[in-house]
Structure formats: structure tokens, C-alpha cells
Point group: C3
Chain length 139, copies 3
């Protein structure tokens, strides 16, 4: 069994954003030389997500509006977590809806994807350096 | 390390449905001859889910009503994604709540499940052919 | 490829609670002697979750209040599932938001975590004995 590890770094200037990281995961997979196995891609921070969905600008707008309705940022006083001096409780909630991680099959050295699957980094509390972990195991 | 791959195909006539695919995953596992490892089961389409929960008709009704409350289908004009000509933005949102994939442990050649765990395909935008991927790695 | 399996047992007296199980997962990892691979940690019951987030009391209060708003326990008659004699339909819904499982990378014999990541058992229907599965594969 072979294993491979890589970190991706982000510093998103806005509070929230969705970034397509599929090319970076594909590059890591090529670099790993692993042909059959699984790749785990996860946010290393608890106010961010990694998820798979469509790379369509309108949908990303819809995700953002919907998450803001399910778990509004303001008023920040509505969350006990923000009594610690933080203002990002909503980001922890939004990340639970969108998920921490994805696991993708590797077949013949490629991400074994359906026609529209793309991997995104979802930032819900930007303005600082944060990481995504890519871990691949297989042969 | 051994690996095994299989696709399941669906063509659900209704817009939304939950289908128990546990027997198909168990058949794939037997076919793989893998005794220890992990199986990944994921929707290959971004308006569908694979998830684990109870095979109880009333609960499936509750899931459907609840998801429709969290992310209503209509009016379709409420979603920017639907300006592309689609009417399935709600399906992309519902799938995020229910999840894209499950990873299940394989022990002694069996799905290592608790007493009520069953694997479901969740369709949120039916009426066309769609796929689920089963990928197994182990020994 | 090596594999390792362990169950954790819980009997949470309250209906809902969040328990930090990171030390138990770390102990299992040491016991496995696996240095590179992946660990799957999943609830074996369908009214409970395993998820990764922050170990902060205020945030756990926020999760509980938020989940109760998204999927209220009462009135129990609002859910078809509860016609079976159960009163836990809400727990099945809450668990979908928080997730069934996490997959964590293992690097150099350790959980490959960001600075604040901790693993939690989320109980949404306590008062009975329930289990979490830890499955590790790697070398």
C-alpha cells in the first residue's frame, strides 16, 4: 500500500467563498502515482468545508443565501460560542450542513467521477490562512 | 491491496424517492472477495445522495417533508441556478443535507453495521438515468 | 495492509449530548500500530452522529438549539415515523445534518488534524446503550 499527503493553503479575503479545488486534487493524484485506491480531501479547520457539487455560479449564490437563512451570521449575540470573543459561530453550523470532507474513488489513476462532480473548498470565516488536507492511499 | 468497482444505475420516474440499495452493496462485496477494508458508496450525480438510515416508510415521508421545508422546490424562480434553464436547484441543496457518500467498514467479508443501518439512494431530481459508484479496497 | 477494529459503547442518560471521543480514537490508533492509512469512525445507530468540530461548550449549546429549531422534537405527532410507537423521528433528522461518520487521515501514526479538530459522538436519542465503530486500515 502506498500513501501520499499534501496540504493546500488558502487565504480568502471575503468572509465566505466557494473555490473549485479539483485541479489541485488531480495534480496531487498524478504526483502520487497511485492508480487504485481512495483519496480523502478534508478541511483542516472547523469553520470551512470540502464538498462535491456543481461548478455553477448561480448555484453557489443559492448555497450562500440558503446557508445564511439556515444559520444567519448576525446578530452575532444569538450564539453562545460568540461570547468567547469570536463572531464565527454561524460558520461552524454552516460547515456541518456542507460537510468536512469527501472521499473519492481512484480508478486507473483518475478521480472516478460522474459527469458534473467537482470538489470545492467552502470558506465560511475567511480573512486568515487555512488549510485543506489531501491524503491518498492505494497502489 | 485489492480493489473492486461497480456502478448501479437508476431511472426513478418520480422527482424524489429513497431506494434501499443495501442488497446491491452486499452483492458487490461478495463479488469482490474482500474480507477486510472499506467500501465507498457515492452518488455520481450532484442532485442525488447516498446515506445510511432506517428503512421505515414513515421516516422516509418525514425526510421528504422536512427537506422540502428546508429547501423548497417551488417557486423555482427563487433560485439563481434555475436561470440556467434547470428547475433542480432545490435538489442540489437537499443532497447537501443528506450527503453524497457513505464509507462502511468491511469486517470478515461483511458490511460492519449496527442493528438498523441500511444504505439508501436518495433521488431529488428523478426522471433520468443516474448512477451510484461502489468502490471497495482491502484484502 | 493491516486492519484494526474497535467498538466504543455509550449509555447517555439525557436525550441529547455531545461527547469528545478523540482520546479513545487516539488510543485505538496507537493500539493498531498503523502508521499510514485512514481511520473511519461511525455511529452504528441511526439516531446518533460522529462529527468533527470544536470542543467549546457554547458552540455545543448552539448546535443543540439550532438542530432543535431545524428538526424539533415536539410535537412528536408531527412525524409519521412516530406512529410506529417511537418518539425519536427528530433524532434521525438531526443525525443527517451532523453526519454519520468521519474519515481521518493517519500520518506518522497520528490523526492528521488541523489545530482545533476534535471528534465527537452526538447523541440525539439517549437513554440506551449505543455503539461507535472505529475501523483503521493502512500499514
Amino acid at each position: 500500500m502506498k500513501s501520499y499527503r499534501k496540504e493546500l493553503w488558502f487565504d480568502v479575503p471575503s468572509r465566505r467563498a466557494f473555490l473549485n479545488i479539483t485541479p489541485e486534487v488531480e495534480a496531487a493524484l498524478r504526483d502520487s502515482s497511485i492508480m487504485e485506491g481512495m483519496v480523502l480531501v478534508n478541511a483542516m479547520h472547523i469553520s470551512a468545508s470540502v464538498f462535491i457539487n456543481d461548478d455553477e455560479r448561480g448555484l453557489h449564490h443559492d448555497f450562500d443565501a440558503w446557508l445564511e437563512k439556515l444559520a444567519p451570521h448576525a446578530p452575532i449575540s444569538q450564539y453562545h460560542h460568540n461570547r468567547t470573543g469570536e463572531d464565527n459561530a454561524d460558520a461552524h453550523l454552516k460547515r456541518q450542513v456542507m460537510g468536512r470532507e469527501v472521499v473519492v474513488a481512484i480508478t486507473d489513476g483518475k478521480l472516478d467521477f460522474g459527469p458534473w462532480e467537482q470538489i470545492f473548498y467552502g470558506e465560511f470565516d475567511g480573512g486568515r490562512r487555512k488549510r485543506v488536507l489531501i491524503k491518498i492511499i492505494g497502489e
